[in-house]
Amino acid sequence: MSSFRETPSQTAGPYVHIGLIPRQAGFAIYERELGNVLVSPTTRGERIRIEGRVLDGIGAPARDALVELWQANADGRYAHPADKQESKAQDLQFRGFGRAGTHFETGLFVFETIKPGPVAGRAGQPPMAPHVNLWLVARGINLGLATRMYFADEEAANARDPVLALVEPMRRPTLIARREDRAEGPAYVFDIRLQGEAETVFFDV
């Protein structure tokens, strides 16, 4: 039995940038700020860009949101002691975490990262298709929203993914990013719809 109750959540509010990405708030204070570039020159894996917008119930972009990204490395292993997939190599040059504010004018969030490998599923389940975990807070969001982004060019793996299998087929496309091959490299575009038609699937994790 648990003896303490979880501290209640409160909205991160419109000024979340001050605390978590102060340069976007307009000032530099930390020597090392957690940012939206997850890769260093020696990180293993295919360089990709992830970008998208967070859209509200009337389709307006939320320009004051913060998106966090957590992902496995190119082999599909997380940089965390609970990941004991010993057959996959660790990558000491890749933490797998980033955060990005949506742009104050365009509403766009951007990550520079690598494409993750497939990760083992729960015991007895097939492996999970490559995906990144996203967590979203903003003014008007009372409890952070968790979702996943899968990759459109992983059709076969997505078809076997045990989490996508739980999702009503009509809503699965809300979790799959579109690939665009650009001069600078591949980009995956993923809009998050908070409400209404084509609302993104959010998870109680």
């Binding site: 648990s2 003896s3 303490f4 109750r5 979880e6 501290t7 209640p8 959540s9 409160q10 909205t11 991160a12 509010g13 979340v16 940038h17 001050i18 605390g19 978590l20 102060p22 708030a25 307009g26 000032f27 204070i29 090392r32 119930g57 009337i58 939320a62 004051d64 966090e68 957590w70 997380y78 965390h80 609970a82 990941d83 004991k84 933490r95 797998g96 975490f97 990760v119 729960r122 999970m128 995906h131 975990n133 967590w135 807070v137 003014r139 008007g140 969001i141 009372n142 409890l143 952070g144 989490v163 739980l166 999702v167 908070l194 409400q195 609302e199 699937v201 998870f203 109680d204 994790v205």
Partner: protein, 241 residues
Amino acid sequence: MALDDEFLQRDLSQHPPALTPGYRSSVLRAPRAPLLSLDATLSEVTGPVFRADELGPLDHDLIRNYAHGGEPIGERIIVHGRVMDENGRGVPHTLLEVWQANAGGRYRHVNDRYLAPVDPNFGGCGRCLTDETGAYVFRTVKPGAYPFRNQINSWRPAHIHFSLFGSGLAQRLITQMYFEGDPLIRNDAIAGTIPDASAVDRLVARLDMNAAVPLDCLAYRFDIVLRGRRQTLFENKLQGA
């Protein structure tokens, strides 16, 4: 992945629902479909690990970490407490980040246009790792109340925003800490998003005279509870009995 890595189901009665019309910003940003429950996988029981050497020596001291030739105006306070899980175990070495308005209720943020002045010596953010017992401490000035455009005369009580990671993504939490005795709490639209009054009360830091520094600063205590890991009785206890 071991069963012990899994977290207890979140008790949603302790949190605000997504749609809270009294807090108007929630109306167009609240998902309408129910959340989809997910059995924990490696993606949720893991989360980022941060090291002490990534932080600067003044990151937890908001009185000094943005001082430009002086100290910030305001009531000097220490805020301290313990980060634990629902089983009462301390959460060690986890990243805790805070942000707040200055003593006049103004944020150092390009989008804050409240008429109270920016304080040249106050940034308004800080961060630290909890120690091996889950304890944390930082020093700051008490933030001021300020108006926000919910209704035209809506005011936020003095508060400090807290962001916590825990040891796995499922423990991630952002919340706000209020101050004991603040009369603005009871009419606040944002504190009011939490349906359970006793849950709101757990966001209110207590004056802690034992931690005050005589002739220097007052202190407030704020303990934070993150989700607990499952305790698998069969594996952990009965087996060895």
